[in-house]
């Protein structure tokens, strides 16, 4: 009897670790930084931290869906840069912020749709497809901007990236709203559950009548749209479209998702985990900046954190075998 009791207690700890291990890790990390890193736990730094993860956070929302369905998207970093540049060019040409944003988003959505069509209809591996579109979009960004940053001549546009509400900057609000929307989509809609089912077993999902191709196309299109949105917000913050921005962003986003427990093979992922993953990456970077750790070392630390997270995840899974 005693033994059984011990087993259930042990199980409960495991279940807690399964569900909230990464959250607990984040809270501990946060407390640690608050105590030992000067200026970390100040309002200004917290706002700065939130702002610094806004771009990754927005895209992580859709990357979560992409990974959960068993695919990748490496092209988003170029889509972010392209949309920023393209929006800047359109705003400058038409003088209309509205036209710039709508056309920019449409272009980004089309890039995503293109990925989705190639991957679902032609059955090309997502890694290869998005590697190719990553190059294409990067190239298009340079072509549209003729290779240099495009300053935006409509100051009203800057509000999107630099304005604030209740002293919290707009990009942070946008990211928060995105998390809410995509969290809702993942947990409460057939779209979200079907996405997880496709990642869990694509053929079984197809035979169960789930329109796999259509859902994949939607996933990649929204992925493009979110990258576009992030690109526009970024352009607004920088008051210009920069064709060489966001290099390596795709892997940052994927890292954050994986850190948050999203499975690279698909089928498993939560919005809370993704948020925590994004926050851990941002917090560690923020603390390292405050501690004046040189950028070169920061790369090493971030790599190690990601590796640790994956190793822990693997150990967790091994218990089930």
């Amino acid at each position: 009897m005693n033994n059984t009791h011990a087993v259930t207690v042990k199980n409960k700890i495991f279940v807690l670790w399964d569900k909230a291990g990464i959250l607990v890790a984040f809270i501990l990390l946060f407390i640690l930084f608050s105590l030992f890193v000067p200026y970390f736990f100040t309002w200004i730094n917290m706002i700065g931290l939130a702002l610094s993860v806004a771009t990754v956070g927005m895209i992580a929302c859709t990357m979560l869906f992409c990974l959960a369905s068993g695919d990748f998207d490496l092209s988003i970093e170029s889509t972010v840069a392209f949309t920023g540049v393209f929006t800047a060019v359109i705003i400058n040409a038409t003088g209309s912020i509205f036209a710039g944003v709508v056309i920019g988003l449409t272009a980004a959505g089309c890039a995503g749709l293109f990925n989705g069509l190639i991957i679902s209809k032609l059955k090309i591996n997502a890694l290869i497809t998005t590697l190719a579109t990553m190059q294409i979009m990067r190239g298009l960004g340079f072509i549209v901007s003729k290779g240099s940053a495009v300053g935006i001549k409509a100051p009203g546009f800057y509000a999107l990236g630099t304005g604030s509400f209740l002293s919290i900057p707009f990009p942070v609000w946008i990211t928060a709203v995105c998390f809410l929307i995509f969290g809702f989509l993942l947990n409460k809609t057939t779209y979200g559950r079907n996405t997880l089912a496709i990642g869990g077993n694509r053929e079984a999902a197809r035979l169960a009548g789930i329109p796999v191709d259509r859902i994949k196309i939607i996933i990649f299109t929204t992925q493009g749209l979110m990258a576009g949105l992030a690109g526009i917000v970024l352009a607004s913050r920088m008051t210009s479209g920069q064709p060489n921005s966001s290099v390596g962003l795709s892997l940052d986003v994927i890292s954050a998702c994986v850190l948050g427990g999203v499975s690279l093979t698909g089928g498993v992922g939560t919005i809370l985990g993704t948020i925590v993953g994004v926050l851990i990456m941002g917090t560690v970077q923020n603390a390292m900046n405050l501690l004046n750790i040189p950028t070169f070392y920061q790369y090493v630390v971030r790599g190690i954190i990601l590796l640790l997270a994956v190793v822990f995840d693997q150990l967790k899974q091994r218990r089930y075998v």
């Binding site: 079984a204 197809r206 089930y320």
Partner: protein, 496 residues
């Protein structure tokens, strides 16, 4: 008294919420074939996985040749001379037979593969099995029975003293089975210890010296003298009750046609097929492996590109281009390969049950969690699915229970026609009997049923009408009363 080569002493294995093995004791002697029987979920697979080092027991001791063992990995099991030959073979399909045999210890000179030595070794071990297999052939090109021989040869090459077989005959023809048995008996003569896990009791009688019956993770009984017991006795002990007639066949009244198909063509079908199934009728399809049975079902279901002159469901012409269309018209399909085509392993029991029907429960794409929970609960009770909770991951359930979850997925729909592909494959006799009962119940509710099986007794036992397929063609339709084993086989076997 023979010496026990392998000994399990009070082995238990716990999973969250499930006790898969409960203080299990087992002894297998040298030069003997030890049979293991039991229902789904009785603990057979867990037992094998402990042997092969995949699972580590929660408690208990395990001895080999008198020495206590603590396997920490599959590698340590192999090194101790244990080989487990699973139902799903573990070969690399795109490598040659020889490479597969010596995988992990390829003979080499300065790191370069020594091709001559490789082929020589591979050839000699296959010769010892009296198997004429080209050692340079790709494993992918070999039929299942041949691949199994490669797997056995692999065990021999690794000097496995102890060889366990898990349902080895499930996809073999009679002749292949006989060949396999000859080889197993020879292995026994050479002093190997054989563990033979099977659902097929007649094989157990034919082959085994000793039989251990498992139920709910415990040993019910170990029979050392199997000539003193009979088939029914085993079934009774396995299930804990007797099963007089596992098919429960009762004649039914048929209604109007449920499904009418004319001129069905598609991949794997050699000539256009016409099929009619009445409401309440069970049509069995029999054929050898490769006769196009699964292909026929997949064409019907729209899972592959197919064409028809017409398909009518309940008299109404319909178009089926994909599974979504099929389900929408009440035509559902239960695939043969549960693991790759049936379950979503990362999903819960409830998730797997509601996978398809949730589109009907939901409004504007919003999930109705309450209805889903009620639906899942209903079917877990109705089909007596053994699971600790609705939230349990389906991959932690036994094969028979997984199959019931898939059935529940489709029973949640308004089913008019059900296509079943080997529904009882890898399912023990108790669960089989339950499944037959269920199929008959569904038929009596007016569902038209097409059932594909490679087990002739099953087809003869449950079908109202039997279609026999050979080489991608429907050869004949036989009524229940005119169908005999000889007749069905006559049409199923290719002409000499």
């Amino acid at each position: 008294m023979e010496r026990a080569y392998l000994e399990f002493e009070n082995i238990s294995k716990m999973f969250p919420g499930v006790r898969a093995l409960d203080t299990l004791c087992l002894k297998a002697n040298e030069g003997s074939i030890h049979g293991i029987i039991g229902e789904n979920g009785a603990g057979k697979s867990t037992l094998l996985k402990i042997l092969s080092g995949v699972y580590i027991p929660s408690s208990g001791m395990f001895y080999l040749n008198g020495t206590a063992q603590a396997f920490t990995s599959a590698q340590s099991a192999i090194q101790s001379g244990i080989a487990v030959i699973y139902q799903e073979l573990h070969l690399v399909p795109d490598m040659s037979v020889a490479e597969n045999l010596l995988l992990g210890h390829l003979p080499n000179r300065f790191g370069l593969v020594d091709k001559a030595a490789l082929q020589g070794k591979a050839h000699s071990v296959l010769e010892s099995l009296a198997e004429d297999i080209d050692v340079n052939a790709n494993v992918r090109s070999l039929p299942i029975a041949r691949r199994q021989m490669v797997e056995i040869a692999k065990a021999l090459i690794r000097n496995a003293k102890f060889i366990a077989f898990d349902e080895p005959t499930s996809s073999l023809t009679d002749r292949e089975i006989n060949n396999l048995f000859t080889i197993i008996r020879n292995l026994k003569k050479q002093g190997h210890v054989i563990l033979y896990v099977s659902h097929r009791l007649n094989e157990i009688f034919e082959l085994c010296d000793t039989v251990t019956i498992l139920r709910d993770g415990k040993v019910v009984e170990t029979c050392t003298n199997i000539t003193s017991v009979n088939h029914d006795y085993f079934v009774r002990r396995m299930v804990g009750r007797s099963i007089e007639n596992i098919y429960h066949y009762t004649p039914r009244q048929y209604g109007a046609p449920a499904l009418e198909v004319k001129g069905l063509t598609g991949p794997g079908l050699k000539s256009p097929a016409d099929i009619t199934v009445s409401q309440g009728e069970i049509v069995g399809i029999f054929g050898l492996v490769g006769a196009g049975r699964t292909e026929l079902l997949k064409c019907l279901y729209g899972a592959v590109k197919s064409h028809t002159e017409y398909i009518k469901i309940h008299g109404e012409g319909v178009t089926i281009n994909n599974p979504t269309d099929a389900i929408g018209h009440g035509l559902v399909f239960i695939p043969e390969d549960r693991k790759f085509e049936g379950i979503i392993p990362s999903g819960s029991v409830s998730e797997n049950i509601n996978l398809s029907v949730r589109r009907l429960f939901s409004r504007f794409g919003l999930i109705d969690e309450k209805r889903e929970r009620i639906n899942a609960k209903h079917f877990v009770d109705y089909l007596s699915i053994r699971t600790p909770s609705l939230k349990q991951l389906i991959c932690n359930l036994s094969g028979g229970n997984q199959q019931k979850v898939i059935l529940a997925r489709w029973l949640s729909e308004h089913v008019k026609v059900m296509l079943l592909d080997e529904p009882t494959r890898g399912v023990d006799i108790g669960a089989k009997s339950e499944l037959y009962e269920l199929i008959l119940k569904l038929a009596s509710k007016g569902i038209g049923i097409i059932l594909v099986s490679s087990e002739l007794p099953e087809i003869l036992g449950i079908s109202d009408r039997i279609l026999v397929m050979r080489q991608g063609k429907i050869m004949i339709s036989l009524n229940r009363d005119e169908a005999t084993e000889e007749k069905v086989l006559h049409y199923a076997l290719p002409e000499q």
